[in-house]
């Protein structure tokens, strides 16, 4: 399955949606949707609502995350927003402000 990578030098203002995995290395403002997974890389700046089965954040994120499977905030992540997923992991070192909802 080909990954779509939003490169470091790219800024997207709007909506990104894909049925394949999405990797954000650059800046996205708006909405991100994937039928597979979304990864916010370290160095990425995201101001968006994210919806995807799996979401992994290593960079900066302002916005709500809705995952049907799992949300993982890595140790380098800075996140402001609400997380909703059956499984939520927040690593040691991650900075996070918002609500956590694990209701299935």
């Amino acid at each position: 399955m080909p990954k779509t990578i939003i490169g470091k030098s790219f800024i997207i203002d709007g909506e990104v949606s894909s049925s394949d995995p999405l990797v954000i290395e650059g800046t996205v403002k708006g909405m991100i949707q994937s039928d597979d997974s979304v990864m916010v890389d370290s160095g990425a700046i995201v101001e968006a609502e994210i919806s995807s089965p799996e979401v992994e954040v290593s960079g900066r994120l302002i916005g709500n995350v809705l995952a049907t499977s799992k949300v993982e905030l890595k140790d380098s992540s800075h996140v402001v927003g609400n997380l909703k997923a059956p499984s939520i992991l927040i690593a040691d070192g991650a900075s996070f402000k918002g609500n956590v909802d694990m209701d299935a």
Partner: protein
């Protein structure tokens, strides 16, 4: 960066690197380097880049600093602006092409505005004709028929008044 066929982006994309679109984009593309719209891609956007190669479908204006190339698979509706524009055999295109370089030579070209500056040249010609006619009439020594010549003069003046 590659936007794969399953990926759709709606909005404004800005970038300093090359971009290849295999999927769909609606909005505005502002790139400092090259754009490649692959066969199968559908783009509805205003595009600005250094070089643009199109093999897919684009609806929208394309402006390139260097070159726009429409390959045989390209289907484009919109205006193209670039110093170099290549349209290959098989490509379908509807719109304007502006290569920009004609503007430098525009002064050397014979342009029509000068013609339209003279107001109604046909009417001016008639006025000249009428005035010469009437003077000829007054100068004519034919004193034997003064009433006809004066009648003719009044007709001419009437025509003149109606025309002017």
């Amino acid at each position: 960066m590659i936007l794969h066929s399953s990926t759709t982006v709606t909005g404004h994309i800005q970038g300093d690197d090359d971009l290849q679109i295999d999927g769909r984009v609606n909005g505005i593309l502002t790139l400092k380097k090259n754009l490649n719209v692959s066969k199968g891609a559908i783009v509805q956007a205003h595009i600005q880049a250094q070089n643009v190669v199109v093999s897919g479908v684009i609806v929208g204006d394309i402006s390139a600093h260097k070159k726009i190339e429409l390959t045989p698979y390209a289907r484009v509706i919109g205006n193209l602006q670039a110093p170099q524009v290549v349209i290959s055999e098989g490509a379908q295109f509807k719109g304007k092409v502006d290569m920009g370089n004609l503007e430098d030579n525009q002064e050397a070209l014979p342009v029509s505005p000068k013609m339209s500056v003279t107001p109604n040249p046909s009417l001016a010609g008639i006025e000249d004709m009428l005035s010469t006619e009437s003077t000829r009439m007054t100068q004519s020594p034919g004193n034997q028929l003064p009433p006809i010549s004066t009648a003719f003069k009044t007709i001419i003046h009437g025509v003149k008044r109606r025309l002017l």
